[in-house]
């Protein structure tokens, strides 16, 4: 009990003056520039933005897979240098070890910590029970549905008792119905465990429904210099454009997604992202492209026109 309450004071993620760029033959290409975010202990924070805006890059830096080119990433004041079990990660691709059963997958982090077999078996069973997966402990991942795989993935990341849970579009590959259930399971687990969560998604509904706070991240607009190097530049650096607190009460219900409060937040976020995306795509959608969009086919099918 005391351990669990103590947790709410842990897991303070701070990203300051963050920038990350890749070396290419044409010089450095910035993926993310000038970004500050923070996740307070026990808070559920989402980063929402279109694909290619650098949100996964930012998350991977918090996980410790990528090193920032500038700025700092700290958890509870300690700088992030390499991946660690302190920051549990759930990936968009199913990342269960196919050669381990569901229970062995969940045990993995505890095994790495050197916990003895009987203890970690018991711990894994309890955790699987928490997620309603006890009946499948002996199954290989191959035989699970996508939703179940991600549930096991979340349980596996939680098994080591991390300070922060990082999720990179974890439900992106799931169908809409399963996704809704998974969102409820995730909020349920988060509320019981009271750990900090940083959640990356391109789904605005999902971000609002789950979060205490939402960061809106988009790629920067095309500069004149960037336009000149258009062939070489496929990505424009992303940065945080807005920070929106979500004041919806908890526990959240499915029905809230129809409330005027929810829809208001959604409308705001959508227009923000749309505006930024259009600005950012300035180099891609040229005047000619816009003209193309306006061609009236007079009700004919494409085949008739051609």
């Amino acid at each position: 009990m005391s351990l669990i309450e103590a947790k709410a004071t842990q897991g303070h993620v701070e990203v300051k003056n963050f920038a990350l760029s890749y070396e290419t033959i044409d010089g450095a290409v910035a993926a993310v520039t000038d970004t500050q975010i923070q996740v307070k202990p026990g808070e559920f924070v989402s980063i929402v933005g279109p694909s290619g805006c650098g949100k996964s890059t930012l998350l991977n830096a918090v996980a410790g897979f990528l090193k920032p080119t500038a700025g700092t990433v700290t958890v509870d004041g300690e700088e992030v240098k390499r991946p660690s079990a302190e920051r549990g990660m759930v990936f968009q691709q199913y990342s269960l070890f196919p050669w381990k059963t569901v229970r062995e997958n969940v045990e993995f982090g505890l095994k790495m910590r050197g916990m003895e077999r009987s203890r970690r078996e018991r711990a894994a069973r309890t955790l699987l029970g928490l997620a309603g997966l006890e009946a499948f402990e002996k199954h290989y991942p191959d035989r699970l549905s996508g939703g179940m795989k991600q549930r096991v993935g979340i349980v596996r990341a939680l098994a080591t008792g991390p300070k922060v849970l990082l999720l990179d579009e974890p439900f992106g590959a799931l169908d809409a119905q399963t996704r809704v259930i998974m969102q409820q399971i995730l909020t349920n687990m988060w509320q019981r465990l009271k750990i900090s969560v940083l959640f990356v998604t391109h789904d605005i509904d999902e971000a609002i429904f789950l979060s205490d706070r939402v960061y809106c991240m988009t790629a920067a607009p095309w500069t004149e210099a960037a336009k000149r190097f258009m062939e070489a530049m496929t990505a424009r650096p992303g940065s945080i454009k807005a920070e929106i607190p979500i004041a919806l009460e908890r526990p959240r219900q499915q029905s809230m997604m129809m409330s005027s409060e929810f829809l208001g937040l959604k409308r705001g976020l959508m227009s923000l992202i749309r505006e930024e995306s259009l600005k950012a795509m300035g180099g891609e959608i040229t005047d000619l492209g816009m003209q193309g969009l306006n061609i009236d086919l007079h009700g004919q099918s494409l085949a008739d026109v051609l």
Partner: protein
């Protein structure tokens, strides 16, 4: 430490979440209908027949084509057909059977078989013991790859038979040089396939292991090795085939015993039936050894789809 905290918590409040997943539409089909209850024998037999129809069909067709092969062989030799190829001196199946019935009571024939098998076991096992670890290490450490790969690429295209003179010079006894040639034959297929397996390891699994606290040695043991196993076994199967090819060639050129020597000797002594007997024995031994490897592969990789 914190996992026990999770464990304690779950004991208090499991029902809330365990009831939710059960409504999730994601149970694998195979677990929905457990195969319980007793069926009357007739129903069971009928069901078994329906499920295994394809296999029965394949076995039946296989048997028919084998019989057809024997009949064609019999007719070709009976009428001593000469049509581009000459069947004048080719032994008939019945003659081969007669020589087989004699040979299985002949300790010298059995000794030939046993000696060939022993050479295969030594040569192949050595190759597996060297090539698999070498492939794993080359796949993981760039420096070792850069050092070993160019040499192996030059040696690899040299057929094992071309090594015969060199092997005789290198090794003090005939037996050792034959084992060496068998070793060389199976070495490269195993090495190349292991390397290929290492190059296909999903990087997400490596990152997942890292974020669960795994360090280099554990990642090697728990991720890279099991992930490459399917390709390692492909390499072992191919390597076993090449090991037999190399062994028979070596025995024919420099041997004193062994099934390859037996076959070549039969030709010198104008015992035509024994030629075919030797050939069939080689075929059967090759088949049995590759079946053995497949069996070991299945036991070693219980997670694969069957």
């Amino acid at each position: 430490m914190s996992s026990t905290a999770l464990a304690r918590q779950s004991e208090r409040e499991t029902p809330a979440i365990t009831s939710e997943p059960s409504t999730a539409p994601e149970q694998p089909a195979s677990t929905i209908l457990p195969f319980r209850g007793s069926f009357p024998g007739g129903v069971l037999a009928a069901r078994w027949f329906r499920l295994n129809k394809e296999r029965l069909r394949a076995a039946l067709i296989g048997a028919i084509s084998m019989v057809a092969f024997l009949i064609v062989w019999h007719l070709l030799t009976k009428y001593r057909v000469v049509f581009f190829v000459r069947f004048t001196n080719v032994p008939s199946p019945l003659a081969v059977y007669a020589s087989f019935a004699r040979a299985i009571h002949d300790p010298r024939f059995l000794m030939h078989v046993v000696l060939s098998c022993r050479r295969i076991i030594f040569g192949f096992s050595l190759a597996a013991l060297v090539a698999v670890p070498l492939g794993l290490v080359m796949g993981r450490f760039k420096l070792i790859h850069e050092m070993v790969f160019p040499v192996s690429e030059i040696l690899r295209p040299i057929p094992a038979i071309a090594w015969v003179p060199m092997a005789i010079m290198l090794w003090p006894t005939n037996e050792q040089s034959i084992v060496f040639i068998t070793f060389l034959g199976s070495f490269f297929p195993i090495l190349v396939n292991t390397l290929h397996g290492m190059s296909l390891v999903d990087p997400v699994l490596v990152r997942a292991a890292q974020s669960l606290g795994a360090r280099e040695a554990s990642i090697f043991r728990e991720v890279y090795f099991p992930a490459s196993l399917p390709h390692i076994f492909t390499g072992l199967t191919v390597g076993m085939g090449v090991a037999w090819v190399s062994l028979i060639a070596a025995e024919m050129i420099s041997g004193q015993y062994g099934i390859g020597y037996f076959t070549w000797e039969a030709y010198s002594l104008v015992q035509y039936a024994d030629i075919a007997l030797g050939m069939i024995a080689i075929g059967v031994l090759g088949l049995v050894s590759s079946l053995l490897i497949r069996l070991v592969g299945k036991l070693a990789m219980p997670w694969g789809r069957t």
